[in-house]
Structure formats: structure tokens, C-alpha cells
Symmetry: none
Subunit: 252 residues, 2 copies
Amino acid sequence: MRQSDRINHIITQLSVNGSVGVGDLVDAMGVSAATIRRDLALLEGQRLLARTHGGAVAHGVLYELPLRYRSADRHEQKSRIARAAAGRVADGAAIGMTGGTTTTEVARALTDRRRLTVVTNSLSIASELAIRPNLKLVVTGGVARPESYELVGPLAEGALATLNLDLVLVGVDGISVEQGFTTHHDVEAHTNHALIARARRVVVVADSSKLGQIAFARICGLGDADELITDRDADAAEVEAVRAAGLEVTLV
Amino acid sequence: MRQSDRINHIITQLSVNGSVGVGDLVDAMGVSAATIRRDLALLEGQRLLARTHGGAVAHGVLYELPLRYRSADRHEQKSRIARAAAGRVADGAAIGMTGGTTTTEVARALTDRRRLTVVTNSLSIASELAIRPNLKLVVTGGVARPESYELVGPLAEGALATLNLDLVLVGVDGISVEQGFTTHHDVEAHTNHALIARARRVVVVADSSKLGQIAFARICGLGDADELITDRDADAAEVEAVRAAGLEVTLV
DNA sequence: CAAGAAACGCGCAGAATTCAACACGAGCCA
DNA sequence: TGGCTCGTGTTGAATTCTGCGCGTTTCTTG
């Protein structure tokens, strides 16, 4: 088991249970306690956890851990979704992208395009695309949320007010017929809504685990989007319900 | 097995598992570990993965802190400058930072502060600080320049217009008595000037190689800054000239 | 409050990994 | 044929990771 796997395991345990024990980790991963402590010290240095005697607890809010530790989850589905979403983007278009692991995956699938303007409020996507001279990258500005790397707030929405987009790709945390598209954070939802309002076409990307889920804050109703791209593991009844609500659903 | 096949295999493994091991790849493809490492180094250069000891992880799953800047040039001097500059920042202050390797170093030195608001137009600094829940990070927005990771243009300057800062830390490419502070790009210079205009106190950080240099675009005159922090390798005559022009110079 | 147990930090040595440098062979072209 | 480049493998030094032992700190329990 490599160090990256250990780190991943620790972070996963932390997000599930809120705390971890050194002994449990030793048993689960078959390495010495010294190694576990070194891993914990590393993560502590990154302010991702606080150490306790016998283990560690999650640092601050844990339901939403930094993206770079989570993106391995359902990676294959997200890749397929990303490729499909990239197919919706015409060369030379001006598109918007919100934050999220799936949209970040889409950003990677767009790196080889020529002549494309990308507007985003996600620092992850911005870092991903900033080195590509073939793309024009516009960042909205705003206050950064440590949990999601998204820029939110009045500054972001003010920047958006002057822009018009051909297409916007939106990542969400929950999709339900009753509550529409939802996310974990209210200001984020508001900023995402502002981005959606500037686009002629709205495509939502989300892996199938989000179907039927309702997160804390509402972004918009199902009717405000033009298409949902998700993976084929989606529950058939949920898909039918969304389609019945009038939203085009693509399974990949 | 050709190189393209190996690359393909590595990418596939990475997207399925999120990580790969050098040993596994050697067994799977029947080539030497050196070749695998060369392949991984190639993909790392394309930002498709991040290397770890014993293998690599999908880009975005990295457990280390954001991009270690390769520019180890004058790293020792920059660290000293960064520590000194961090000493100018009071807890609870609202500060601005422009882009540059030296200012990024200052950002690192500020990560353990409590209650600090940082406004920046640099994606590098934003990535560095975004993960810290103890800091409030405000990003200006704007168009990203691939060469410097800075956000520039009207969007950035518009965002700045509403903010007032206690202190701004500026990185520059040239310092001269005749031309003042200069940088390599004209729009960047304009955006930096806009940031300076919002601050009550302006501190310029630059290693001593910048003294006496004149870059393409002028940011502001020496008189518009309150202090210059540079390293003690600075040419004594140049330092005297700057001091004679009325600017406080600190050597570290 | 005190004693025992558990956990921690530190230093060290062995193992694994990486890097830099060089050697070898295939393919290409003059 | 000879020389050249490119990709690959090998070697040895340097770096990093890991596990163990020991003294110290912290927690628990009576």
C-alpha cells in the first residue's frame, strides 16, 4: 500500500466518521504506527486534521473535504461524463463552468481545444487551465471557500453581470424533482445561479449518486437547465422522474 | 510495446484506480523501471498526473501542498525576504498581494496567521492559501495570463475599486531610480497599479537581482511605495541611490 | 493525587526508490 | 559504410521512506 493510498484512506475515514484511531489505521493498512503518525503529521501540517492522543479528528467542517483528495471516487464515471460534456462544447465558444470534481474533469477534457473562452469561479479549474495558452481563461473573482475551492459572493456575481455565455456547465450535489438542483452551501448556490443566468444553454453534469439527493441550498429548478448528463448506473426510476419533469437526460 | 501504448496504459490505470505503482507497471508492460519513470515524468510535465514515491496519482488527487514552484533560483534570499515581509503584516489586517515568486513565498509565510484577509490577483497565491480556513481569501478575478498565473484586465481592476487595504505587497521585475518599479507586461503593470492605489501602505518585495533593472512596463514611481525589502547581496551603490530617492530600504 | 499504561517524538539503520550518467542497439540519412 | 539521433537498460550515488527502540509525555483509573 502506497503513501497516497494511505492518505486517501485516512481522509475517507475522517469524512465518514469524523475521527480516526492510530490502532485502527495500523490494522487496516498493515504498516507500523510510526508511519501512521507520520502521515497524520503531514495532514496536520496541511491543516486537514487535528491530532489527538491515539488518532486524529477532522479539522473544522468535514462533510466537504478538499477536492484533490476526493476526485478518485467514481473517477471512471466522471471521465465518461466529462467526455460527453466536452462534446457539447463547440470550438470558439464562450462557456462557463462552476466548481466540482466532475466539472474539473470536463475542464481537463477541454485542454486540447483551440480558441475557447472559459469563465469559471473555481480555483481548481482555473489552475487546471491557466497554463494552456490556447484557451482564454477568465476567473470571476470573489471570496474563496476552502472546502470547495470556489469563488463566491458579490464580487463573483458582479463580474458575471457583464458577460454573456454560449453554454454553462454546472456541477451540483443534489438533483430532485421537488427541489431541483441543490448544493451544500448557500452562497455557492447563489453564485452558481448567477452564472446560469448569463448562459443561453445550461448543461448539468453529475454522477449518478447525486440523483434523488437533496443538498442544503437550492441553485435552480430542473426546468432552468436544458440537459443533464450522468452515468448509466443511475437509478432508472429516478431518471424517469427527471425526464417526466421535462429535462433531457443523457446517460453515458 | 511502444511508448504510446505505455502512456495509454498508464492513463487508463490512473483513471480506473486513481493511482499507479512503478512496480505494477513494470510487471504489466515488461520494461525497466527507468522507462516507466521517464513516462511518468513526461505525463507529469503535461499535468496529467502527479508523481509520488513509488508511483503516481491522478492529477488532482495529490496529497502535497499546491505546486512547489520549481524556480529554486535565489530561494534562500526569497525566504529571508518573505519572513521579513510577513513581519510587516499585523494580525487581523486586510492585505493585498500581487503575483510573483517572491510574493508567493510571502504567502507561504503567512499561512499560520489567525484572522487575516488576503486580496490577490495571483492564481498561485490563491491556490496556496485557498485551503487555509484561518484566512479569508479574496481573488480579484480577471483574465489569466499563462506566463505568470496573474489575473489582469478591467475585471480585476473593477473588483479592486470597492476594496480598501491596510497594506499591499508588490512583486516587481525591475527597480530603478529613473523608471521606478517595472514589470514585463503592460496590462499586468496597470492591474498592479490599481492594487497599489487601494492600499494605505505599499511594500515592494524583490530579490537584489532586480535592483537597477528596467523592465518593459512601468507600475509606479519609487515615491509611490513606502518600503522596499530586498536581500543583503544588493549592490551598495544601487541601494544608496534608491535611498537617496526617498524610499526606505530594508536589507535581510 | 499518584501509579501504570498507552501513546508520542526522536534518532538510527535498513530497504526501497529516485536521479544522473553512461553504454548499448535500432533506425535513419548522407 | 559511417555517423547520428533516439529510446532503452544498467550502474552507482543520493534521497526518501519505513520500522524499531528508547526516553518522555499524556491519559486513565483507582
